[in-house]
């Protein structure tokens, strides 16, 4: 009979779509909310350190890095997609920010290299933001629009996030300046003591050297005389 056949087809189709929808929802719930990793690490001289992250296609990501201490405060940075194609490559950069959208699923890799430096090790800070922040309420009924109070809260939250971000960068710049000042302080201390010692040694040495010239001449003249 035609009716039970078409009903069966409808049920099958609904079942298929339901399964896909559920799977899609699961994927969105799990891979949708992104994460942010903020890490400060020390990069020894002639070393390279790499970090990896699995990113889903279409996710907007931002990589920001800043060198805090060491040498000329610069580092090489390189970001590659899962196929090895280089998305971002900069040599000897002090601070940069790079935003990209993941074009394919897979493991993205970014490396910081200090291989050009022979004896200074660097401290590098990076902030890798993947996707959006997880929602405050992992609730199912998020289809209702936000009230005015709630949207005001959301905009204050975003503004405070940018304040914290600026604060972080300010703190890093201040750490950079402070490490330079402390270096300068110790260098001035060692240099002034060293310079004073050298001065004394050289002046006393000069006098004795000069005296030794005249002493030798005296003995030779007396020998010639006798």
């Amino acid at each position: 009979m035609p009716r039970p056949g078409s009903a069966q087809r409808w049920v099958a189709a609904a079942g298929r779509w339901g399964c896909w929808l559920l799977a899609l929802l699961l994927v969105l719930l799990v891979t949708g909310p992104g994460c942010a990793s903020e890490i400060t690490f020390e990069l020894p001289d002639n070393a390279k350190q790499c970090f990896y992250e699995d990113i889903a296609q279409g996710t907007k990501c931002t990589l920001e890095f800043q060198v805090i201490t060491g040498g000329h405060y610069d580092v090489d940075c390189r970001l590659e997609d899962p196929d090895g194609k280089v998305l971002y490559k900069e040599m000897k950069k002090q601070y940069d920010s790079f935003t990209f959208t993941a074009s394919k699923n897979g493991t993205y890799k970014f490396c910081f290299s200090n291989e050009f430096s022979t004896f200074t090790h660097k401290t590098v800070y990076f902030d890798f933001q993947v996707g959006e922040d997880p929602p405050l309420f992992p609730s199912e009924n998020r289809v209702s629009a936000l009230t005015q109070m709630e949207s005001a809260c959301v905009s204050i939250h975003e503004a405070l996030k940018s304040v914290i971000d600026y604060q972080t960068h300010f703190r890093l710049r201040e750490a950079q300046g402070r490490s330079r000042a402390e270096d300068l302080n110790t260098r001035v201390a060692y240099w002034s003591v060293g310079e004073a010692l050298i001065l004394l040694v050289v002046s006393i040495g000069q006098v004795f050297l000069l005296k030794s010239f005249f002493s030798d001449k005296r003995t030779t003249t007396t020998r010639v005389g006798s």
Partner: protein
Amino acid sequence: MAGVAGMGRPAVGLRALLLLVMCAAGAQGLYFHIGETEKRCFIEEIPDETMVIGNYRTQMWDKQKEVFLPSTPGLGMHVEVKDPDGKVVLSRQYGSEGRFTFTSHTPGEHQICLHSNSTRMALFAGGKLRVHLDIQVGEHANNYPEIAAKDKLTELQLRARQLLDQVEQIQKEQDYQRYREERFRLTSESTNQRVLWWSIAQTVILILTGIWQMRHLKSFFEAKKLV
């Protein structure tokens, strides 16, 4: 019949999608590779009374299968946290998957060091570990759904609580900034003083040695009857 045949193809695609979901759920964000005996340190510059939560997960490299094993029981990581004065705040051994927490009592640079304790793994020479790491500081460490459930807050109250936490973190950071700026100013003033005293001392030493040299040489030449 048509329904049964139709269900075959989406089921395969569904399995692939579920696999992707499971992979995504298993991955804990950022990861990096370390050697077995290698120690990796991270620095966190934080104000005082700030909570830091770190989550990590390790995977061992299997040389035969050329793949990272999903989980290796018996593999431990030693976590050591030092405060800005070099004193050890936390030094504990955790399993292959762990979570460590500490609260800072002095503002400054805290150092978090991780190394694996695998001595038996030394048999597999050249082995490497994949470490998934996630460090959350201050307000980011709060778990808001948990707080909402515990204190029974409405959505608006929870949002207000989040904003309060954020503002508190900004305030702490500003206080820390003031303390750091004072240190910076003391260092600069000390350098200024040192340069001032050094230049005066250098000039004095120079003049004194010059005078001493001339007098010494004059008496020497007079003794040698050359003058």
